[in-house]
Subunit: 272 residues, 2 copies
């Protein structure tokens, strides 16, 4: 069993990915799919007069400023258009997909950050009405029930807080939490780059292999959105996963290529 | 077991309805909930520059003109904001709700109308690129799996065509199909009126009781959106349901009141 994360950035080819999921499931491969929707959320939020804002945490990570109106727009895009569009693509290819958010059946539960500390124009600031958090509990019973009944679970943020509020969580890290909880052997993360690049955005500088125990030293190499993917990989390794692959979501057979070792393969080697 | 349909018109109080669902499920009452999202879809479609259009069929029913862009907006609102907003409200009240569309696991499958025949300014016209249809098959195995595991299924259009396209289906009739397939004893339909009104919109003209065998004669009384509710009730009766209740979704304890007989009760009487 493996977990597949499909990014939400521009350029990712969802038809090619759906083709590949169909091929793999026909071969009997079991998987859980997690997807994003960031680029489309930015478009819709702008069209609805509530343009996206991004903040940088004091630890240097960028994230979406998520007020209550943003959560609604986020749900429209992630749980509505993106999730149902992907379910439709998969059903059309004979894959019996079921789309769920982290709210449904408390699939992804976690703590809402009561305050977030950001840096704005070099100054520290505290934001209190943000709806973000981190997945701490995965409803594996629900996922196992669906898998056993022959469905492919297609999961998307938001998650649910312990106080039952919808919270924006990072999709890569939610996928890592899911892979750990389900004891998956591999986590494949498809985005609009071929993997971790030594000199971003030079795609020829792809780093092909990272031994698990050396991943920490690559955090500084990761730029922009790749930072959270590396963090997700660190969490996945800490949780017992043996292999994480960052690969290209713009090509044919993207999942099969990733599983065959194309992209950046982060692996626990035999001795560890 | 009963099926509850919550309308999508302005005025319906979703907090009061969620309170009542929580009370009933705490008492051990099992139910499946279906919801709409029409009013909010109109707002969002207008804000996104694709304002809603309604067409009147040659048989006199009004329905939403549903091109492919409308399906996307429809999914944003019904499956995104509305469905997840309601899941959140229910989870906050201790109800373990799972929101699904008719696409998920092919929950609601049916035929897409390849052409729709409409009347426009007194003239007949044919529309070919519409994505509408009717639920003909309900995935009862999936619903039973979720109910057995202790979840409350919260269902919403669109449905899925046999060719795996998302199709707009009427929520009242989808609820009726669900009630029939699940062999529910009662279908409760909450909207922003107290029930079927003899002189619409005069709320004091509520029709309190309709024997099942006389329902046909009330089709002419039904105005506007109530027409499809009456049609849903006819289909539910034809499918073996014993009781359909049209009731007010704007009041406290709306479901308990409906089940106690407030609203318009359409019933198969003892002799039939």
């Amino acid at each position: 069993m493996f977990v597949l994360k499909i990014g939400g950035s521009a350029g990712i080819d969802y038809d090619l990915i759906a083709d590949d999921i169909a091929r793999l499931t026909q071969e009997g491969q079991q998987m859980i799919v997690v997807h994003g929707g960031s680029a489309l959320t930015n478009e819709v939020a702008t069209a609805l007069g509530h343009p996206p804002q991004f903040v940088t945490s004091v630890s240097g990570f960028s994230s979406r400023r998520t007020d209550r109106r943003t959560i609604e727009i986020f749900e429209m895009v992630y749980c509505g258009q993106m999730n149902k569009g992907l379910v439709e693509k998969l059903q059309a290819r004979g894959v019996n997909a079921i789309g769920l958010s982290g709210l449904d059946g408390r699939l992804w539960e976690g703590k809402r950050k009561s305050v977030i500390k950001i840096v704005e124009k070099g100054r520290r600031r505290v934001i209190r009405n943000d709806y973000t958090g981190k997945v701490e509990k995965v409803n594996t019973a629900l996922l196992n029930t669906l898998l056993l009944a022959g469905y492919l679970p297609l999961l998307t943020p938001p998650a649910i807080s312990y106080e039952s509020e919808a919270i924006n969580v990072d999709g890569d890290r939610a996928a890592a939490a899911t892979a750990i909880a389900m004891e998956a052997d591999t986590l494949v993360i498809l985005s609009n780059v071929p993997g971790l690049l030594k000199n971003f955005p030079d795609e020829s500088s792809l780093i092909r292999h990272i031994p698990a125990q050396k991943l920490d030293t690559f955090m500084d190499v990761a730029q922009d959105r790749m930072k959270k993917k590396v963090m997700g990989a660190q969490e996945a390794l800490a949780g017992g996963l043996k292999r994480i692959i960052f690969a290209d979501g713009r090509v044919e057979n993207p999942i099969q290529r990733a599983l065959a070792g194309e992209g950046t393969v982060i692996e626990v080697s035999a001795g560890f």
